[in-house]
């Protein structure tokens, strides 16, 4: 029992990051993680004993997010927050880094929902393609094509700038 709790808790930081990158709001993200964990504790006996715990938890979180997001109120709040997230995303590095971070997240927002999720799961959370397929309940080929489209789209958005170089200087 303690082992099962420990295995779950180890994944909480990654779940919070994924939730935050989806909702872009600290409280909403933690609410989502809490819902996810509560759901997981209650549904533990329905889990496949040899299944992938990480993929299972991410799937619960993502499904909760998608179903919650259908509610229009939340969506309205989300749009409001797009204006603020530049400030939220500043804790690492200096001003240049934060401008760049905000820009990356900004570009991420232009992706269709399902491409965004694939990019986050594979690129940020480090899930294998088959794990991402399990989380999103789609075939692995769909994961690959969404990943490909997402990356290509972001690349075109960032075109004209040398890769890896901070593109903007903030003039204060």
């Amino acid at each position: 029992m303690a082992d099962r709790d420990r295995r779950m808790e180890v994944l909480v930081p990654a779940l919070r990051r994924f939730a935050w990158s989806l909702t872009r709001n600290a409280d909403e993200a933690d609410d989502l993680v809490q819902d996810c964990l509560e759901h997981a504790l209650g549904a533990w006996h329905r889990r496949h004993a040899d299944g992938n715990l990480r993929a299972w938890l991410f799937a619960i979180l993502y499904n909760l997010y998608v179903s919650g997001r259908r509610r229009s109120a939340r969506r309205a709040r989300l749009l409001e927050q797009v204006a603020q997230f530049g400030e939220i995303a500043t804790p690492v590095g200096g001003a240049d880094a934060s401008v760049h971070c905000a820009e990356v997240l900004d570009q991420l927002d232009t992706l269709p929902e399902e491409q965004r999720a694939v990019l986050l799961l594979v690129g940020v959370e480090g899930l294998a393609y088959d794990e991402a397929a399990e989380v999103l309940a789609v075939p692995i080929g769909t994961v690959m094509s969404r990943l490909s489209r997402a990356r290509e789209r972001l690349r075109r958005l960032g075109e004209g700038r040398p890769a890896g170089v901070v593109p903007l200087r903030r003039v204060v």
Partner: protein, 278 residues
Amino acid sequence: MRSDPQAPIGEDDLHAFVDGRLDPMRAPAVERYLAERPEEAARVRAFASQRDALRAALAFKAVEPIPTRLRIETLRAARRRAALAWGRIAAAVVLLLLAGAGLGWTMRGTLQANLVPAELPSAPTALHRLIAQGPTRLEASARDTNITGWLREHLGEAIPLPDLSGFGFALEVAWVLPAQARPSAMLLFVDPDGIAVSVWRRPAHDPVPRPMRCADEPGGLVTYSWSDGRHLHAVTAFLPRERLRPIAQAVERAMQPPAPERSGLVAGLVRRPCDTVG
């Protein structure tokens, strides 16, 4: 991922290359391909730097300390509290059902005549007390009480406590519900997921054993009940039959009277499998 070194390079190879998930057999072919095509190599570098930028932008979240409310221990404690509050309601529901349905038996005739009139009015009374007064001297928490001793003291007889740890359930609370000369006992077991199973037991007035039977109540409440000729028992939970049945059977085994009491003629005759709806 594809492992045939001869297959033509595909978009999926390039992404697997970026993600470090390329099959080792495939790597030399992809590297050669990229070395010969600077434009493709630039694309792949752009993908990788995108990913790095995203990781950097989101890294702060993964290194933040976890809020207390997301600790599994916190969530479990909340579930236990909810289960207990809920368990009290479930216990009340069980008593009402037992009182209303002639202790769960739908058999007509002597049994019902025996059980219903004289003794049951006290159950709702006890129930009322249970709900209205909240924790009373008739409630004992398994955490800080020797339940066996406490029950013996209040029931006037020892009661074998079932061990349900094999199913993940631990005894949490016990109640004694005074009913004239023959009080009944209610045990509430809770599992780490916050599911509650209640076990109710009361001395039988009818010495004829009754086989275990199952009743589904609206709302998903399932009750297995039986009599061993000395006590009436009911095991109740919001659980599917197939999950509750082995638990009820374990309770039945644990609460069986000593062997000599079971050697009567009727004991063997009335026992039958409990898979049919009554």
